[in-house]
């Protein structure tokens, strides 16, 4: 009998321990943030995890709320982990997701809570203007979505996340030492696309094996997204650029203007780093950091990665994709877009504490800590503190964020794409145009028109 009692007691103890282990260890939903609470957070960026943990230490010191940040990489693993956690009810309190897309889909699918009522105007005003509404689902996006998209079930105006990091794509990094060795100026960026191609020619002639341009074309859409789109936007102007993608257009990629932009892109063909189509984005950056290429294309976030891989930021010259001399705009301004955002999961039992943590980490103080540690641009406007917190090179990139509105290229504007837009398909056509040379610009134009025509048809 005593033995039976002991068994029952041990079973009860085990059940209690299991129950304790399964609970998220916080207060009840809606309970105010309180010292002693603990939060969990997942991010898909390894470099952010360390920086966020550093910010979390300060946050804990201020509030008594602890935060455990976990990096789940790469992207597909992050996504499948969220999928399985959503099914088993094991989501963390806070998620860092890709902004203006993934975060909205997570919200529309019911995984992120609508925090619009908690993020007041003063909070929103902290962010760079072009990033403020990145986590808000607008009616336009709902209208453009395919009929089976979760957006159709969501309410317009819901705010599922606040912007966290910002930046721009289409930033060229040049190795100053290689420029010098090739007789090019290490301090003056090329003023035009034509000068850039000429500089590439010079550096490749000087060093045929390691004087070219690296880009992770294994991810086929990066050439199309990061080089072609800003180049075509500057050449054609906003209206004609957006017209390339329009439904039933006669001024598409196969039109004279479209073919000209493809011809400009195709001028890169002789200067790609050998084997560029087998390199992932990170691998291409590493190749550049190792001196295997003279130029590399990435985003503002690439500078941090180059630094992590041993290339000092003062050894690179950074500039946006230069415009063509014969184009509509003679300068390129990149509108910063929100790259990642932070949201509170709908199952979080620590909503108030989670909001407090997001509030801190998007405040100038918290964002500054993260920016300094991760060398990534925050969506929070750091004002005069920017150079001190981020370093002169990263802060200098911000000068390309302001300029004439008509020549500003906004990669975050997706209003003119077909619903269910899949950038991989046009990306493959661009790889076949350059570097593979399987298509000439006219044929690539026709194929791209067919690709977008099919997307519009699918969207119907």
């Amino acid at each position: 009998m005593a033995s039976m009692k002991a068994r029952i007691l041990s079973l009860a103890a085990v059940a209690t321990l299991v129950a304790a282990g399964c609970s998220s260890g916080g207060g009840q939903p809606g309970e105010p943030a309180a010292s002693g609470q603990s939060l969990t957070m997942w991010t898909f960026k390894q470099s952010h995890a360390t920086a966020l943990q550093k910010a979390a230490e300060r946050f804990t010191a201020q509030t008594g709320i602890s935060v455990k940040v976990e990096a789940v990489t790469p992207d597909d693993v992050f996504k499948s982990k969220i999928q399985s956690a959503a099914q088993t009810g094991d989501l963390p309190d806070v998620l860092e997701a890709h902004a203006a897309g993934e975060d909205l889909e997570l919200g529309a699918s019911g995984l992120l809570a609508d925090i619009g009522g908690d993020v007041n105007d003063a909070w929103r005003a902290r962010f760079l203007p072009s990033t403020r509404n990145a986590g808000v689902l607008d009616q336009g996006r709902i209208d453009r979505a395919a009929s089976d998209s979760p957006f159709k079930q969501a309410k317009a105006g819901s705010m599922y996340a606040v912007p966290f990091t910002a930046g721009a794509f289409g930033i060229v990094y040049a190795n100053k030492e290689k420029l010098q060795a090739a007789g090019l100026s290490p301090d003056t960026p090329p003023a035009s696309w034509e000068e850039f191609v000429a500089a590439l020619k010079t550096s490749t002639e000087k060093d045929p094996r390691a004087g070219g341009l690296s880009l992770g074309l294994k991810v086929s859409q990066v050439g199309y997204n990061w080089i072609y789109q800003p180049l075509a936007h500057a050449y054609l102007g906003r209206e004609k650029f957006q017209g390339l993608f329009a439904k039933g257009t006669t001024a598409g990629f196969g039109s004279p203007g479209g073919v000209k932009t493809l011809d400009l892109y195709g001028q890169l063909t002789p200067y790609w780093m050998p084997g560029a189509t087998t390199l992932g984005i990170d691998e291409a950056d590493i190749a550049f950091a190792q001196g295997k290429s003279a130029y590399n294309v990435g985003g503002t976030f690439t500078l941090a990665f180059l630094a992590q891989n041993g290339m000092s930021p003062d050894k690179v010259l950074a500039f946006p994709i230069p415009p063509s001399e014969s184009g509509a705009h003679k300068d390129i301004v990149m509108a910063p877009l929100a790259l990642t955002s932070l949201g509170v999961t709908s199952t979080s039992e620590n909503r108030a504490a989670a909001l407090k943590w997001i509030d801190y980490v998007t405040s100038p103080a918290g964002a500054g800590v993260v920016a300094k540690e991760s060398l990534d641009l925050p969506a929070t406007d750091l004002g005069a503190e920017a150079a001190t917190l981020m370093g002169p090179e990263l802060a200098a990139l911000q000068k390309y964020f302001t300029g004439a509105p008509e020549s500003t290229y906004d990669a975050g504007d997706t209003t003119f794409f077909p619903g269910g837009y899949d950038q991989v398909k046009p990306g493959e056509v661009f790889v076949r145009l350059s570097p593979l040379k399987e298509l000439d610009p006219a044929r690539a134009g026709r194929e791209l028109d067919a690709v977008f025509g099919a997307m519009w048809k699918s969207a119907e």
Binding site: L106, G110, D148, T278, P435
Partner: protein
């Protein structure tokens, strides 16, 4: 009666864990996967949207932005499905016969030929990538041997004319050790007196191989071909890691398309499409297996 009941219970107690495991991991997963192929879902929303056979139609012809990519992947998959088993048999059978006939260092040689199997996996794919780079060992060897014209300046995986065949050869390289081992097992099961009798009757080694050994190894060949077809249809790791379907879609295969539809379409509701493509692959595998079995039965 009570004894029989007790025996029945004991029997079920032993079998239950395996049945439960199969029910959860097998029946449930297969059933749920099949049901998903008739739905639209992104993995997050609480409900699936039922679309009937639409996913299958979209993949095969109805969706103009999807069907052409699936057809191209199917064409590449067909190349892999035919070439990998065929080359595996063509290499491993003579290799096994040779290894079976050598008297000295037989153990060492077997170990050497079995090494690719022991080391195979993601790590070796990365190692192959280094060898196949523009400045990798293979180009270097060709240039050193005066065969620079055969070297690929963009690397073997970045050149559309060599990318798919390079991957096929690596798959064959991974498959040959197991096939050789299976053939060796088959060879050792052949009664030596049959071979001896043929030799006494004046049969040349080539005739012994063609008339006696190859027919007797037919069941083994069937197994090796089936394994090759199965691996070719389902395997996508090598394509994901080494080329991601590139350059320009030249190495995209159906299994990779399935994976990409599931995990690389943002959060678009493409899990149903992915599942439908998985079931189409399954149907293809069943058809190929039946055709192969029938062909081999006829040969036998």
């Amino acid at each position: 009666m009570a004894t029989r009941w007790k025996e029945w219970l004991t029997g079920w107690a032993f079998v239950f864990p395996a049945v439960a495991l199969f029910a959860v991991m097998g029946v449930y997963t297969i059933g749920s996967g099949l049901a998903l192929s008739f739905a639209s879902w992104n993995g997050f929303t609480p409900n699936w949207i039922w679309v009937g056979l639409e996913n299958y139609a979209d993949l095969l012809w109805a969706d103009p932005s999807l069907a052409p990519a699936v057809r191209r992947a199917a064409w590449n998959t067909l190349h892999v499905c035919v070439a990998v088993p065929l080359l595996t048999v063509l290499i491993s059978l003579p290799l096994a016969v040779t290894l079976n006939s050598v008297r000295r260092l037989r153990g060492l040689l077997r170990s050497v030929y079995f090494l690719p199997y022991v080391t195979t996996g993601i790590a070796t794919y990365y190692a192959w990538r280094y060898l196949l780079e523009p400045e990798g060992s293979i180009n270097l060897m060709l240039r050193s041997a005066g065969l620079g014209s055969l070297a690929r300046p963009q690397g073997w995986l970045a050149d559309p004319s060599t990318a798919l065949w390079t991957l096929i050869l690596i798959l064959v390289w991974s498959a040959v050790p197991t096939a050789t081992l299976l053939y060796l097992t088959g060879l050792q099961a052949i009664d030596p007196s049959m071979v001896e009798a043929a030799r006494i009757d004046g049969a040349a080694p080539r005739q012994v191989l063609r008339r006696i050994i190859v027919p007797l190894l037919t069941p083994m060949t069937a197994g090796i071909v089936l394994l090759g077809v199965r691996d070719s249809l389902h395997g996508f790791q090598i394509f994901l890691i080494m080329t991601n379907g590139g350059p320009g879609g030249h190495t995209s295969v159906l299994a990779l398309e399935t994976y990409e539809l599931a995990f690389f379409k943002g959060l678009a509701p493409t899990l149903g499409l992915s599942s439908a493509l998985g079931w189409l692959l399954f149907a293809g595998a069943v058809l190929l297996t039946l055709a192969n079995a029938r062909l081999l039965r006829r040969v036998r």
